[in-house]
Symmetry: C2
Subunit: 318 residues, 2 copies
């Protein structure tokens, strides 16, 4: 109890550095109080980060774990075209966790929170068998303007931001026992939530559907197809592959936190948005014309169904 | 992954039975979308429920765990005088958890959710070493009307709803190895969030400060004193003690989920609100007059400092 209270006081002190005027009251009462702008709707997303499942202490520095944890939530806000406001953090901590680890985790999370003006406005703390962090991010979007997964239409083109497979490539190296320096420029350790891109696409009304690529291109495109009631075809040699990655990792590797969106054939999509490359990788089709939700056109000119393999949690690979 | 997706589909299907018109979009996209009424502010609270810390599978039926989990969040909304709208559930589940347990947990949670028109609007699922449930509850309250912990003034009277120590008394029996039937009427297993009382106190503007008693009277009254910058005195023979409990459990036992509130001396507080007994148990004093935040007047007519012991997690008692 005493340890928990000390930690809550520490978090409250550290959280004071991240502020957002939408937060009328943050940590320190039964609930946080938030004000939305008139004419705006609320966005809410929650993501669980568990030691041994989403990260390993031996691979991921605490600051990277905190950064990745918040990125998961921010990326969901980006995928709706929203503006993040406040986050909430529930922490389950093993009794023997060094305070330095907790400090590093919070610093990593709060550096990213400050960058996007997201206030840490509440949470909970408990003892646990493994490090457990559940991050909730709230955001706002003008009423009716959120970009959903369900708006893709046959004929729409499919686009992605940045390049894919880079995070999985690093993970593969880690699994192979290779030492990988957790530098700030390695997007596996410090991924960038594409908030500016999502915001641009929402404001310009260019995107008909959007999702973030957290589970892997094949799985996340499938979500768009299912929610929109459509099928899709990918062109394999158009998929932007990250350095050190390959097509397999780009199609099925997770945690790149790039955005996938669809736009009408005639929409003029810039080749870069907010400094991030945009690449057309395929097309939305009628679902009834295909036996599989996603087909892929290979280099050999043949079209074949693309299975959804996607991201497998660390725990399953052990 | 397949198991997780199956579970998410199951939750989405079950959640369809709990609806709230504030939820424009629930499960099925990157974020949920909520609409607040114009002139209202958003309330957010998060509570972590962990196996071995907050419940034991051998003591608590899965439906009671689900009910208790959601009650924790609803009780926080009640303590602000708010109206709950939607909840979000992040689940970490051991690989060997029987599906029947999960079903029972969800049913218990959703029966309570329907009773208060709270929609399960999102969440996350992962594998974990112990059953982990992080519940987020959102609510709304007219702008500026939330009842905070910080509004208590010297001279205010202190009140509580219902009776105290009952949950801790049952817990004590469980720790002593006694078999306790987890009946619906045992408030340890099925506590009632005091939403109607909280709402009445907010609407009537009677309460100057409010908190829910989740950690125990001594700890939660201390929170009110600290946030309000005041001290307090309790009258021991006024504290309403639950059946099977005693003064010690009523002062320090947690998880009763009753409300504690303060009101000006002259405010007319009904003896019952929404069918729940209201009892005056003490008075707010100037902080500078006392060495301790809470004093207690004993049966012997002597005043002594009341230590904050409060709720100790199961894990610490093992």
């Amino acid at each position: 109890m005493t340890g928990e209270r000390t930690l809550i006081h520490q978090i409250r002190r550290m959280a004071a550095s991240s502020t957002n005027s939408a937060v009328k009251m943050g940590i320190g009462d039964d609930c946080a109080i938030l004000r939305l702008k008139p004419g705006f709707e609320l966005l809410v997303t929650t993501d669980l980060c568990l030691e041994g499942v989403h990260f390993r202490r031996s691979w991921h520095p605490p600051a990277a774990v905190g950064h990745r944890c918040l990125t998961r939530g921010l990326s969901d806000i980006a995928a709706m075209g929203g503006e993040p406001l406040a986050c909430f953090l529930s922490l389950g901590l093993p009794a023997d966790l060094p305070p330095a680890w907790m400090n590093g985790f919070l610093r990593g999370l709060l550096v990213l929170a400050r960058r996007y003006k997201v206030q840490l406005a509440g949470g909970d703390v408990s003892s646990a068998l493994q490090i457990t962090a559940d991050i909730v991010v709230t955001g706002q979007v003008p009423s009716g303007a959120a970009v959903r997964r369900s708006g893709a239409n046959p004929g729409d083109r499919i686009y992605v931001t940045g390049s894919l497979g880079g995070s999985a490539a690093t993970l593969k190296q880690l699994f192979a026992g290779k030492a990988v320096k957790p530098t700030k420029s390695n997007l596996h350790f410090y991924p960038t939530p594409r908030l500016e891109v999502g915001n641009y696409l929402r404001q310009s009304r260019l995107a008909t559907a959007m999702i973030d690529i957290s589970d892997g291109l094949s799985v996340d495109l499938r979500h768009v197809c299912d929610e929109s009631g459509v099928a899709s075809i990918l062109i394999s040699n158009k998929v932007p592959i990250a350095k050190n990655a390959n097509l397999e990792l780009a199609l099925h590797g997770g945690e790149d936190y790039e955005l996938l969106f669809t736009a009408p054939k005639r929409a003029k999509i810039p080749s870069q948005i907010a400094g991030v490359a945009i690449t057309q990788i395929g097309e939305i089709r009628n679902r009834r014309d295909y036996s599989s939700a996603i087909q892929i056109l290979g280099d050999n000119g043949k079209v074949s169904p693309l299975p959804q393999r996607g991201w497998e949690h660390f725990a399953r690979q052990r």
